[in-house]
């Protein structure tokens, strides 16, 4: 364990070529880019589909399909294909594009499912009241449905973020960028085992940090304070029980 701490608290292990800092920046950059791209693609579509209540079967089941595809296999395949391939991609590093594509793909299912469900779960009375007040369609969406659905949308973003961070770590196993390299190299050489464990600790700590920050953001996004106590009673979780319930009601 001493070796682990020595490595973590040694400035050189951070600033060296291919050191912790470089890998950390690459992985954060990958995570943020992939999440933003995935949100830009999926949120408008899923929110729209949720509002009109179509293609529910697809929106719900995309998460189940995503679960069966091993991230590791998809990363390996994408990096092997001539496109996106394993070429250097700007600040994202080796196999950066392949990793980005894989990360976006893995961020999509939770975002789509949760935002779809979020729109379906808005109380019909609230929508009717909004219409009764003379709101137009877009006013209803921006002022009533989106704010009420925001906590669920945020839970999708939170799930996606944690998943993307975890997947970005795996990218290193197939020649990609990120902190996974520290783990992989550490475990490939017996005398560098402590570096691998240090990298694992760092990855886990940042994952918990991201999760915590998103939990706070999710709470802040809740427009109706009473629902907070309900949420707490059910135990906030990245596996929201609402998905199953919505799947049943959507048939």
């Amino acid at each position: 364990m001493n070796g682990v701490l020595d490595y973590l608290f040694d400035a050189a292990s951070w600033t060296d070529e291919g050191g912790l800092l470089e890998q950390l920046v690459q992985q954060l950059l990958l995570t943020v880019t992939a999440l933003v791209v995935a949100m830009a693609v999926s949120l408008p579509l899923a929110l729209y589909l949720g509002r009109i209540g179509r293609f529910g079967f697809l929106a719900i089941n995309v998460s189940n399909i995503g679960r069966a595809v091993p991230t590791f296999a998809l990363l390996a395949l994408l990096a092997r294909f001539s496109w996106p391939g394993s070429a250097e991609f700007g600040p994202y590093g080796r196999a950066g594009l392949a990793t980005l594509v894989a990360l976006v793909l893995f961020a999509l299912p939770p975002l789509i499912t949760q935002s779809y469900v979020a729109m379906r779960e808005v109380a019909p009375e609230a929508k009717e009241a909004a219409r009764g007040m003379g709101m137009t369609g877009s006013q209803q969406f921006w002022r009533v449905e989106l704010p009420l659905g925001l906590p669920l949308v945020m839970s999708g973003v939170r799930l996606a973020l944690v998943q993307v961070w975890a997947t970005a770590t795996i990218a290193a196993l197939v020649g990609g960028p990120g902190l996974g390299n520290v783990i992989r190299l550490g475990f490939a050489n017996t005398d560098r085992r402590s570096e691998g464990i240090a990298g694992a600790l760092l990855v886990a700590a940042i994952a918990l940090l991201l999760e915590g920050a998103m939990a706070l953001a999710q709470r802040a996004a809740d427009p109706v304070p009473q629902t907070r106590s309900r949420a707490r009673k059910q135990g906030l979780s990245p596996v929201p029980p609402t998905v199953g319930a919505a799947a049943e009601s959507d048939g």
Binding site: R67, A68, P70, F72, V239
Partner: protein, 229 residues
């Protein structure tokens, strides 16, 4: 001398889909698949064994519930590539390490499934059973668990499918089942090996899911009759 057709997995062809590869290397593929199934099944069973008492505990003492759910959910946040190496100092580069790690991941889904399942049993049923003289243990085993089965099985399916996919990460501690084919195929640029490993993973997930659906049908004959009637 007749010129022999190069096999589709030879370096020159390096096809993605190649039946010759599957035939010629069937030993290796079978072994990887067997390991994969062993790890997955053991991990899910371990998850069930831990999740059940945890769920009972959380149900009995509502104060513990948020702690139990918080911890089991928090575990899921830790990336698999980080969790498995962190277990190595305890259990070494063995299958046990992968099984423990993946078993812990199952808890997120299974603890909640047990809790939700037990909660889905109507109070009237519970009361009638108590009225008929069922003790606590008998009530749980004969009444509550069977009625909770559909919800528990739904959770078990999710846990199993995720575990099949996650097992591939076991390569980081040298035990990944089909993940080994994927890793080796990638590092040696062997397309057929990589693709075979990936496809088998997805197929395995689907097969295990199907088996669980069948098991559920067999275990809950009353639900099936209900649908038909």
């Amino acid at each position: 001398m007749s010129t022999r057709e190069p096999k589709c997995y030879s370096k020159d062809v390096n096809a993605w889909f190649c039946l010759d590869y599957v035939r010629d290397r069937s030993d290796e593929i079978t072994e990887a698949t067997t390991t994969h199934v062993q790890i997955t099944v053991a991990a899910v069973l371990l998850g069930l064994l831990i999740a059940f008492p945890l769920a009972l505990l959380a149900r009995r003492y509502p104060r513990l519930e948020s702690t139990v759910l918080g911890v089991s959910t928090g575990l899921y946040t830790v990336p698999s590539l980080a969790l498995l190496p962190l277990l190595v100092p305890l259990t070494g580069l063995t299958k046990t390490t992968v099984v423990i790690g993946l078993g812990l991941y199952c808890l997120t889904i299974l603890v909640r499934a047990f809790l939700d399942g037990l909660r889905s049993v109507p109070d009237e049923v519970r009361e009638s059973a108590t009225g008929l003289g069922y003790g606590r243990a008998k009530l749980l085993l004969k009444i509550e668990l069977p009625l909770a089965l559909p919800v528990i099985m739904a959770g078990l399916r999710v846990a199993t499918v995720s575990t099949v996919a996650l097992t591939t990460i076991g390569t980081v501690v040298s035990e990944g089942g089909l993940g080994f084919l994927i890793a080796e195929g990638k590092s040696t640029q062997f397309n057929a090996e990589l693709m075979t490993g990936a496809v088998l993973c997805v197929v395995l997930a689907l097969v295990l899911d199907l088996l669980l659906v069948l098991a559920q049908r067999l275990l809950t004959p009353w639900a099936r009759q209900g649908v038909r009637a």
